[in-house]
Amino acid sequence: MLARSIHPEPPTDDLRWKPVIATMRRYGFAQHALIETLHTVQSTFGYQDEVAMRFVAESLRVPLSRVYGVATFYHFFQLKPPGEHTCVVCMGTACYIKGAAHLLEAMEDRWGIKPGETTPDGKVSLLTARCLGSCGLAPAAVLDGTVEAKITPPALLTDVERMSQRAHVRIETEAEEAVTA
C-alpha cells in the first residue's frame, strides 16, 4: 500500500512503461538513476516527450526542470519522434577530412533536411554522429542500423532512396538491446 502511494502509476496503459519502471526499481528509485531511466525511455519510446519526463520526475522525486535539463544536455536523448527511417552521417575527424560534409549537402539538396530534422512526411530523419569509431572506413554513414563504408554522395542518395521505399520496420539496434539488457 505504502509503496503504491510513493511511486506514481504510469500515465497510460502502454506496456512500454514497464521497462521504464523496471529500470527505476533496479536503482531503488534513487535520484541518480535519472540518466539510466531516460536511456530506457529513449530505447522504448524512441524519444522523450513531456508525458514521459513528468512521469520520470514524479517517480524519482526530482524537479521536472532537472529532468528537462538532463534530457536536453545529452545528445543521445531526442525530444522529437524519429522518422520511419534514419540516416546517420559520421562527422568524426577522419570522415570529415574525407568529405562527410558533402554527404550532408547532398541530403539537404535531395530531401531538404538538415541534421536533426525529419522530412515533412516523416519518412527520413537525418542525424550526425560524433564518431562511429569506424575511421578506417571513412566516410561512413549508418542507414537504419547498417553501416555503409567509404560512401560517396550519389551512392548515399541511392541507398537512402531505397531505404525510404522499404516498409517501416522497427529496428532493434544493438544500442537498444544493450540499454535494455
Binding site: H32, R66, G92, A178
Partner: protein
Amino acid sequence: MTPESLTQVAEKERASSTPHSLQVCTAAGCVSSGADEVLKALKAEAKARGVACQVKGVGCLGMCQAGPLVAAEPSGHLHKFVTPTDAAEMIAHLGEPPTERLALDADQAFFKRQEKIVLENSGSIDAERIEEYVAAGGYKALAEALSDLTPSLVIKRVTASGLRGRGGAGFPTGVKWATVAKAAGPRKFVVCNADEGDPGAFMDRSVLESDPHRVLEGMAIAAFAVGAHEGYLYVRAEYPLAVKRLKLAIKQAERLGVLGRNILETGFDFHVEVRLGAGAFVCGEETALIASIQGGRGNPRPRPPFPAERGLWHSPTLINNVETFANIPTILRKGAEWFASIGTEKSKGTKVFALAGAIRNTGLVEVPMGITLREIVYDIGGGIPGDRTLKAVQTGGPSGGCIPAEFIDQPVDYETLNKLGSIMGSGGMIVIDDSACMVDVARFFMEFCMTESCGKCVPCRAGTVQIHGLLTKIARGEAGLEDLDRLETLSTMVKRSSLCGLGQSAPNPVLSTLRYFRDEYLAHVVDHRCPAGVCKIAAEGEVIR
C-alpha cells in the same frame, strides 16, 4: 575460486585447443564490413566438413581498412577482405598460405613495428569467454596482488613503472593512486573513464570490445591499492558492442569469483557497475564525469578539491582512463623494471593510436613511446595514398594541435608533443595531406568545441562561439588582418581563463595552425583565396548561407 583453481581453469582451457583455429576479427570496424556473416559461414563450413578447427570471433586485428580480417593459427597467416563465399576454400586448405586475393602480409611493418602490451590479447582471444583471458595469464596479477602484496607495494610498483595517464594529460598514475590511498574516508571509489569522445579516436572502444577483462582486472588491482570496494565504468552509449561485452565480462568475472564479494577467497570485495554516457564530450573531464554518474548534467566544477580527495558522492575517487587500467595487469605480471625499459626517459611504455585520415593503413596501432612520427606515418602507416604529400599530423583531437610535416622526425612522447603545440591526447592520430585546408580543419574542431561546451563558464561558452565566428569569416575570405590578431588574443584568453580542460584546450587547434600555417590564413585574408580549394570564398557582395 582460489588462485590455484584459477590455474586449473587456465590449464583446462589450454588443453581444449584444436590443432587449427580460425580467428575472425569481430571488432566494430570488421563488423561494419560484414565479419559476422563470415564468422557464421566459417563455423558452418567447419562443422559440415567435420574438421578439427575452432572458429571463433576475436578482438581487433588492427588493420581496419582491409576487413573483414581472419587470422589462422598456428600458421599465423592473415586473410583480408574475406567474404562468406571464401569459407569453403579456407576450411579446405587449413594451414596453407591463403590465395593471393586473400593474403595479407603478416610480416609487413604495420604488424612488425608494433609493440603490444595493452593490445596483447586483441585478435587472439574471444572477448566473450573469460576462460580464454585466464588461459592467456589473466587475473594472475590480481591474484598475486591480493595474496602476496600489500596495497602500498602495489602502488610502489606502479610508481616505479613510470606509467602516466593515457587519457591525454599524462599525470603519473602512481602519484594519483597514492593520493587516493592516503585520502581519508569510509567509502572510496574507482572509476574507469571510457567516455571516449574525441572524434577520430577509437582505442578505448577497441580495448573494451577485444579484451574487457584486462580493464576489469586493472580496476580491481587499483581498488585493492587505494582501498575502494565500489567501482564504475562510465562508457559511451554510442559503443553498444563494448557495453554488451563489458556487462557480460562483469557477470562472468563475478561467477568465477575474481570480482564481487570475497575475491579469490582473500576477503577482498570489489563491485563494478556500468554507467552509460549519453553523448556529451565534456563528460570526459573528470568532475563532469562524476556529475554525470550521479545522474545530473555533465557540468564540471573548479578543482581543487581534486576527485582524489573529494569525488563521487564527496568521497575520495580514483579516475583513470581505459588504457591506463589496461596496462596495470601486465606491469604487475612482468615487473615495473620491464615496463620502464620501454619508451623514453619521461614517457614509459607504449601508446595505442587510432591511425586514420590520409594514410594507406588505417587502423589501430600500439607503438613504444619515443617512436618518431615518420615511423608511424611511413613505416607502419604505409605513407600517403595517391600523389599527395603530407601536410600535418593531428594528435589529441579537439584538444590537440596540428604538427606540420617538417617535424616528422620528432619522437612521440608527452614532452615533445607539448613543445610542438599539440598533446599526446587519448590517441587519435589523423594524417592530413595537402588536399586539406588548415583553416577549415581549425574551424571543424572549433565547431565541435562550441557545440560541446557545457555553458557553465563564460570564456568557453561565449569564447568558442566568437572564435568559430572569426574562423568562418576568415574561411569566407571576409576577414581583415585585424581579425587574425583578434583570433589570437581571444584564443589565448579562452585557454587561460576557462574553468575546465575542454575550454582550456579548445583553442589549441587554432593556435597550432596559426603558428605553423599562418600563410594559409593570410591567403584567405589577403588574397581572398583558399589554397587547397576547400573553403567557399565569397565573391564581392555575395552572401553565403
